[in-house]
């Protein structure tokens, strides 16, 4: 049953990835892409705008979904996400500061804005992690409250930085804070790919540890999981991944919360299956939402965040009220 569900998801992913680049303000026919030369405008839109955008959307959605799944398991709380724990806003603050200060540097090919976002994400997670360390046995609720507090603090910082910026910087920051997936050429998706592979491998490889941690810290330790070590590994891996996504696409919060829950309802709580499912579904979900944002109000484009929330919110409520709804609350 579970292998079948996952196989179905893989097929759906391939279909969506192939079809999505053809969807948009100007619809592109498959013949023109294959037959026409490199100078054909349709072909150029397809290869330098649409395909990179779909790739970016998939990587961003997959990353946020996986990060949400990992945080929900580690904190045993359905509301734990990169967003609610303050990790997204930490990353956003790092990136905002980078833009505001007009910095421009890169280390080993990783752009400065990604590094700044990663540093911000790591700072946020360190605050929450420090709380776990200093107060052993504090409830997951306390940690979420800490995350919310971190979130507010960093958001205010972002507003402050934003307010003191000049017009050009202000526009750059605002445009980016709204969340974006439009990109030109393969550079941005390609820069995100290694970060996503790093975080994704950690999340998928540690499926047994995540299972045990999602049952409870005491039980996990008793079964032989070195919880404090794996917690550090996962926090670091998730910060890298979230930092990368937020640096390029802005704080996209919604996918990380909903996608893992929806997957859990479909394929169950075992992270061996839940991991790949969340990865694929999160990616596909964001790509579909983005494709819809391109056509629904054409020739204008809606912000992708609007679509994800409009689609995901009611769908999630419907799942909650369904017969399997009870397992959502307990499902983390």
């Amino acid at each position: 049953m579970k292998p079948l569900l996952l196989a179905g998801m893989i097929i759906l992913t391939l279909v969506v990835l192939v079809v999505a680049p053809f969807v948009g303000m100007t619809s592109i026919s498959p013949e023109s892409v294959i037959a026409a030369g490199a100078d054909d405008p349709e072909s150029r839109i397809f290869w330098s705008l649409r395909v990179p955008r779909v790739m970016l959307g998939f990587l961003a959605g997959a990353s946020m979904s996986l990060a949400g799944m990992v945080f929900q398991a580690m904190f045993r709380n359905p509301l734990a996400t990169p967003f609610t724990l303050g990790v997204s806003s930490g990353a956003a603050l790092g990136a905002t500061l980078y833009i505001r200060l007009g910095l421009s540097f890169a280390v080993f090919g990783v752009s400065g804005v990604t590094l700044s976002a990663f540093a911000g994400a790591l700072l946020a997670i360190s605050v929450v992690y420090g709380l776990i360390r200093s107060r052993p046995g504090s409830s997951t609720g306390t940690m979420l409250l800490a995350g919310v507090a971190v979130n507010f603090t960093f958001s205010s910082f972002i507003l402050m930085v934003h307010y003191t910026s000049d017009m050009a910087n202000s526009f750059n920051i605002l445009r980016w804070l709204m969340g974006r997936l439009d990109t030109v050429g393969p550079d941005e998706p390609l820069s995100l790919l290694p970060l996503m592979v790093f975080g994704g491998l950690a999340a998928l490889a540690l499926h047994r540890e995540l299972n045990l941690m999602s049952v409870g810290e005491e039980i996990a330790v008793g079964r032989g999981v070195d919880v404090s070590r794996y917690r550090k590994v996962l926090f670091l891996a998730m910060s890298v991944m979230i930092g990368g996504v937020v640096a390029i696409c802005g704080p996209i919060g919604f996918v990380g919360m909903m996608a893992p829950h929806i997957c859990r309802l479909v394929i169950g709580p075992d992270h061996r299956w839940l991991g790949p499912m969340s990865l694929l579904f999160g990616g596909v979900f964001l790509v579909v939402c983005d494709a819809l944002s391109r056509v629904l109000a054409a020739p204008a484009e809606l912000p992708v965040g609007v679509i994800t929330a409009l689609l995901g919110g009611p769908f999630f409520l419907w799942l909650l009220t369904g017969r399997r709804g009870a397992s959502v609350g307990a499902g983390t």
């Binding site: 409870g216 005491e218 039980i219 070195d226 709580p269 397992s327 307990a330 499902g331 983390t332």
Partner: protein, 269 residues
């Protein structure tokens, strides 16, 4: 004790001290448990019983002293290695687990797996054996959070058995069980202790059951050992009144003849 110290102890605790946020929880606790022994740990609430178990399997950190498992300091084990020697049934665990009973028990095979060794028929056999021994086979496909407290507790025991450790730590495993579930649970514990030679350390408030099931009773009070000896010496008004600051009524068990504690008489209505 000198003769027993010569042989290797399953669990050997020396000068264990634990402080939590500046408060002493355990102060200089020393005792040893033989392989195959059943030790009951009793004492008033807040005496440090749970903390003691948590130190032995390294759930709690930051203690001082020495804890040896089969003659080796637990500091020398990785958590995974330690879990192959020591299994732990926490207080009322698994309440919010979304996993099924079978998944829960299979997850206990974790210390025997590596990233490159996946679940094989041997692991599955441990799961089926544990289900059979605890009588939880009929629950195998139910989700943990749909079980009653008693059923869940038996599954947590089954999981600890599937972990296949020679030392079993239990924290008040029968507190929330009805008389039938409690006695089934006790029977399983006695079976694995007497027939398989598993070393059992059980924290409990049920003094009568402790006296019936264990080889030795360790009583903690304010983080110190107040008594350590056979059940026959423990079931004594002087020992018990010093431990709990009240006096007890005793009677004889009609079958075994051991002294049993009676509850205080209520007001006649």
């Amino acid at each position: 004790m000198t003769s027993t110290q010569m042989m290797t102890m399953a669990v050997d605790v020396r000068h264990l001290r634990l402080d939590l946020q500046g408060w002493p929880i355990l102060r200089d606790v020393s005792f040893a448990v033989r392989e195959g022994e059943y030790l009951a740990v009793v004492g008033p609430n807040g005496a440090g019983k749970t903390s003691l178990l948590r130190c032995i399997n390294r759930v709690a950190r930051g203690w001082r002293g020495a804890v040896n498992i089969n003659g080796v300091s637990i500091a020398a084990f990785t958590q995974r290695e330690l879990a192959r020697h020591v299994a732990y049934v926490p207080q009322a665990g698994g309440r919010h687990s979304p996993f099924t009973v079978r998944e829960t028990i299979l997850m206990a095979r974790y210390p025997h797996l590596t990233p490159f060794v996946s679940v094989n028929y041997r692991d599955l056999r441990f799961v089926e054996d544990a289900l059979a021994l605890t009588g939880t086979g009929s629950l195998a496909d139910r989700a943990m959070h749909t079980l009653s407290g008693g059923e869940r507790q038996k599954v947590m025991l089954a999981a600890a058995l599937a972990q296949n450790a020679r030392i079993l730590l239990l924290d008040e495993p029968t507190t929330f069980l009805d008389p039938r579930h409690r006695d089934v649970f006790r029977r399983v514990l006695r079976t694995i202790n007497r027939e398989k030679g598993i070393t059992v350390i059980e924290v409990t408030h049920d003094l009568n059951c402790a006296a019936l099931d264990s080889h030795r009773i360790l009583a903690l009070r304010n983080g110190e050992i107040a008594f350590c000896g056979p059940p026959g010496q423990f079931m004594d008004n002087e020992v018990l009144s010093r431990l709990y600051e009240r006096s007890f009524l005793f009677t004889e068990h009609p079958v075994t003849g051991q002294p049993m504690i009676l509850p205080e008489e209520g007001d006649r209505i």
